[in-house]
Symmetry: D4
Subunit: 206 residues, 8 copies
């Protein structure tokens, strides 16, 4: 990506010592911003005892070093169907911010209460890119895609039970969206969606 | 069901001669209305050469004998996401009419063009029961369920391609609907949905 | 729904403090009845130290405030195939009561011991709506649907092992029911079934 | 199996010439009875122009040579849920007869019309073995297994549409049967079920 | 089943107190033998402090009261592919014994070491019924079915990892067995297989 | 989308007469460009007898009216793994052109012959957006995503046999891509990918 | 691969003219042997009117130009479970021969008739590599793998019905093989197995 | 296998006492090398208190007795897509060494950073056999297979989340590899891959 943007550490299969060491080395060699995802509160505590770290517990992600000033074309809207989708949304938000984007959060605007979503038509119509995050039936992506004129990145979540099959139901919904301009990333992959949205929000930005 | 309601013949695995014979016998023994579903145009032609038959080609279903006067509590609304879902909707409509219900059709009101659906809020708010029919991502059931105060019977359809998996994507969506008051029948089962809706529309009707 | 009916709190992804606060606010602003589902015994203890709460441990659900007097058209029958399905049935029962319904429980009447079910033909024939709850092969819904004249809401449960696949086997059985008038909700969704049944039992009730 | 029993030719992947040649050779070398399964009417016509063949068109199977006299312990009951299951049932019947068994057919006794099944309690209680054949929700096996005292061989059929998934729904139902004494064979495998039932019906017969 | 045979308690979803009480009541009312399956060692300890219980820890099953003398026609052979399948095999063995059968165990005779199986051709050729138990590729059922002349009940087990999918691979193998006379029960259902085998072994026994 | 862009007709479930009528009406009411997808050669012949139509047989899609001049920020690269993926790629190409984009085709650059792909590093590094189309193992998306700095829209195709499961294998591969900046659309959905890519290529274009 | 070995044309998605042209060009530029797979009899007729072609109809594959003399270390054994697997086996055989290998065919040696397989222990013990081909339960790979000391390449086939799921059952069996030294290729991929086996049979051959 | 090679103990379902006893007996009766796989650190500690054991904690495997000198034809390359795949790779490495092979490790050379892989073209071009290990999208096997001239054994891993489905996504990718010479073993089966690779590396070695 553009120079200045964050380096990224995927914390999932690393010890807290490994994470701290990798991030310290990156910061030491001149990187201003290091995004660390899938990091436990315990690892975060360890890392912040060694480095300046802005940890977001809901997201299980944090920014080591400086959070860059937003330098994208516009705003990235992050919408969720319910409150249980918020951890994925926050992973997306932290990622987007680490990559230099301004973020608008629209949480709990799922389609069974349509008025809550329609109350935010303004934000939806003026976004550079929208991240639509939902579990269970995943209908949010289609409704948002139908309203918006910008690219929509859909993120199915593993929220739900029974026939939600750990996010498969929402994933299939989103892949079959009858709204144009919707593409999909892996279940619970808030990071990946924000990375795509940031690329879109930085097109033509030098 | 209540006296007077239709007898039903499932035509799928029967020859045209078998269908005609069974329906003739029913009418002959005093039944006023016989609903025949999953019947090919060819079989319908054969049957109507022997019996009074009102055949609906889109539905691949027909009413032999008399269509009963509507005697339900109110109207059954039948909504579809797209135009390709119409055959399933018409199977539901013919069934509902054969069972003594007044039907309102709201076709092609899928969620990627929300205004088309919202233009019919009146019909949705005054229905006795709603049949929500959609393929692909099946989001219609959740949006309708969120708007309506009456029971919603959702019918997934096999419309779509790729990851729609012959209706599985829509089926899972509907089972996971975050709107209360939504229940689901088998893929493409317009008949079953109308049967449920008719039962609901006739509660307390003697 | 009709005025007077319960507000509903889905406890699954909320802390005990959040649940207590939301319910207290609802009761404080005039709501008479608050149904709380998917709430652990531990959360229930916390909530009842702050609010009047009638907690049903098997159901993992409770009613804060007053339980409303039944005002439906008739009774809702809740039937289960086995004893392991009882938690789902109790979730349905608590929900139905919170929404103003009288409930008849027919537990452990699974189809491999048909006489136990047939002994209750009376209750089945006089219900407003029936909730048929079963895991493993889910045959109960078809047998009940064949006997009854009222709508049957089928709830597959995750009870079983091996090829029950966490409720998928029962779910598929129920979707394929050859009895008319059967519709289906998500695996283990006692709440959803009771909500549908209550809507049916309150049709035309002002 | 016991001497005298039929040789078996699985016609599915063989030309009519191959079938005729194999069967002729078997009969020529002293075999009294040759069962041929999965044989088209066209192939049957060809074979019967060369050999004595008793072809059952519904079963798509036939017996070349002599049909043996029944020499089992008792009767094999073959029950189906619907009329569409009859081809599988007839494959089972022809197989059972070719292997020396007396067969009782109970067709269209599915569980959504329980009285039709219960009217045959006598046949069920006196069978040596029962073959329970059903598509869609496959509940027949559990109900029959609950009534009977003898082994029940369940055969799921590919009858149905949508979420019947070509017999998978019925297969899972039957594997999860809560009735004891039920075992299962492959989808549409009438032959295999009859082979098992014949073994059981000939135990201790020399 | 025949008088004298065991009553059965499925312990899986019952407390140790419930199991003890149900079994005590059965024994108290004249039942000689009570088979209890899916019972933890802890529950077994509790039950044996109140009742005579012969508990088999590998099987997680036990016989309360007396073990009946074998009164079947012959022996039931129980074969496993590996040593990890032994718990399922022991559930089958305890069940078979509780139902009055003599049992021969052939453990760890899987098909990748064919000589171990072929060394037991005698036991296989003289069994009344064989229970073939295997996880992973489940090939044992086909090989045994090809050798034996008696009914084979196949039990897939959840032994394995990766693409064994908790027993699904073995289940599908067994359903597709190209050997005649093989039928299948649910994954890990040693009880069900033994029940079927016992029925077969007692045919014609008064 | 931006004014001037194409209207779109999805031909899949429409008769040739319906397609011609809808397109004629759109052109008649001032629309300059109408994109028609999923249209058979036969329907195309009929439509072109009534309207100016530029039909692409591989794509089964065509542009009625004028093809707009490209007015995007840069080029859209369309890459395929094999030659069998070309129909999907051409649907994407026609769509992209109808929406005002310049297209670069890189066909048959699958990862088992990496040099063919690496020979086009220039085109990949300078694209506005890339559409990566592949069946079977779908690895192209990850490799392209690893090389490129722009958003990659991955399209799984139903090309392959056996365990390709009609595109499911490629779909899963692409959803799990370990390269950042990759999002996915439905199997064979060349249209949807091009619509997303066009949105990206027109960001900030008035 | 080694110089001299065949070039390969995958005919599946090519017209007969394309196949002929590609093969002619390869032969024209000095290639001695061209293997063409997945080619219809009709295309083969067209190709042989232009080129020397040795077409194997069962295999739907052929060798254009010269068949090379075998120059491998030893023999490749190709074994099948049934006669319906022969087309896949012949694809493997033609491929192996085109790549310079001597082939031994052991057809219809499936595990339900173990003696037929054991009669060929000699060929199995002296092979360089074995290709084990089977549909339905796929047990052949495990049994062969248990007997042999050389690498076994397993090919599941789509032969079967019902729960064979187009080869999935055999595929899973083979992946779970408890015999060491077994690896697996795609369903019906005779070509791929032979390519692997040829590599093994040519190790150290210059 | 060849004399001198290791005996193998699969520790997964054995107690530490059983493992120690079996290994001791093997060493006692003259076996020089015993490979123990799927053994916990705790069991390893117990075993090494009784036997000379070289335990590899990442691999959860160890060699009791002597590690044999490499006597294969060349080297086995073990490549992984990411660092999370290392446990599976180490199981393969320990196995290969126990069977007398020299091993080259190429870890974290996944296809989204192609240069890291291409930097090792030398090792890839000179290997006897390559083990390609990857989770998530599993593309490594195709890219390596396209580069290499020797057999590639692909091992899908359960690394990943969401739509990686515990290794299924990687497994399908690998089975569909469009590179020739790739075969596949079970998810996470490092042992099985190394066994195959060792067989290949020892061909013609006496
Ligand atoms: N309908 C059927 N389904 C499955 N297997 C069958 C069927 N009919 C016959 N068979 C089996 O096919 C064998 C004969 O196969 P073949 O030697 O190929 O003719 C018989 O011994 C049976 O095991
Ligand atoms: N391991 C088992 N798997 C499946 N069903 C079982 C098992 N053990 C017992 N059963 C069944 O459970 C019934 C008793 O259930 P319950 O009345 O709940 O104790 C028995 O009649 C058996 O049909
Ligand atoms: N190949 C395609 N796949 C999926 N959706 C499509 C395709 N082509 C067109 N569409 C959608 O179909 C809509 C038009 O549908 P209709 O009004 O039925 O003609 C467009 O707005 C697109 O969203
Ligand atoms: N039956 C087959 N299944 C899978 N891949 C094949 C088959 N036959 C040929 N191939 C592959 O197809 C390639 C040639 O493809 P193409 O260049 O499209 O003709 C060969 O190099 C093989 O890798
Ligand atoms: Mg839009
Ligand atoms: Mg509602
Ligand atoms: Mg009914
Ligand atoms: Mg019974
Ligand atoms: Mg046998
Ligand atoms: Mg990139
Ligand atoms: Mg071997
Ligand atoms: Mg290669």
């Amino acid at each position: 990506l553009r120079c200045g943007a964050a380096e990224i550490v995927y914390g999932a299969s690393k010890t807290k010592e490994q994470i701290a060491e990798i991030a310290a080395e990156m910061l030491g060699s001149g990187q201003k911003t290091v995004l660390i995802t899938r990091m436990s509160p315990d690892a975060a505590e360890f890392v912040s005892s060694r480095l300046p770290l802005d940890y977001n517990e809901a997201a299980r992600a944090g920014i080591a070093g400086e959070r860059p000033a937003p330098d994208g074309r516009g705003k990235i809207v992050i919408a969720t169907g319910g409150t249980s989708d918020i951890p994925v949304a926050e992973e997306a938000a932290v990622t987007a911010q680490a990559l230099g984007n301004e973020v608008t959060r629209l949480y709990d605007v799922g389609v069974s209460g349509l008025h809550r979503l329609l109350a935010h038509t303004d934000e939806i119509m003026t976004a550079s890119a929208i991240i639509a995050i939902a579990g269970m039936e995943g209908a949010l992506a289609s409704v948002v895609g139908g309203l918006a004129d910008c690219p929509v990145i859909a993120v199915p979540t593993s929220v739900g039970y029974g026939a939600s099959f750990g996010g498969v139901s929402a994933l299939l919904s989103m892949l079959n969206s009858c709204a144009s301009g919707v593409s999909v990333v892996n279940i619970d992959n808030g990071f990946g969606a924000a990375y795509c949205a940031s690329m879109i929000n930085h097109i033509g930005v030098i």
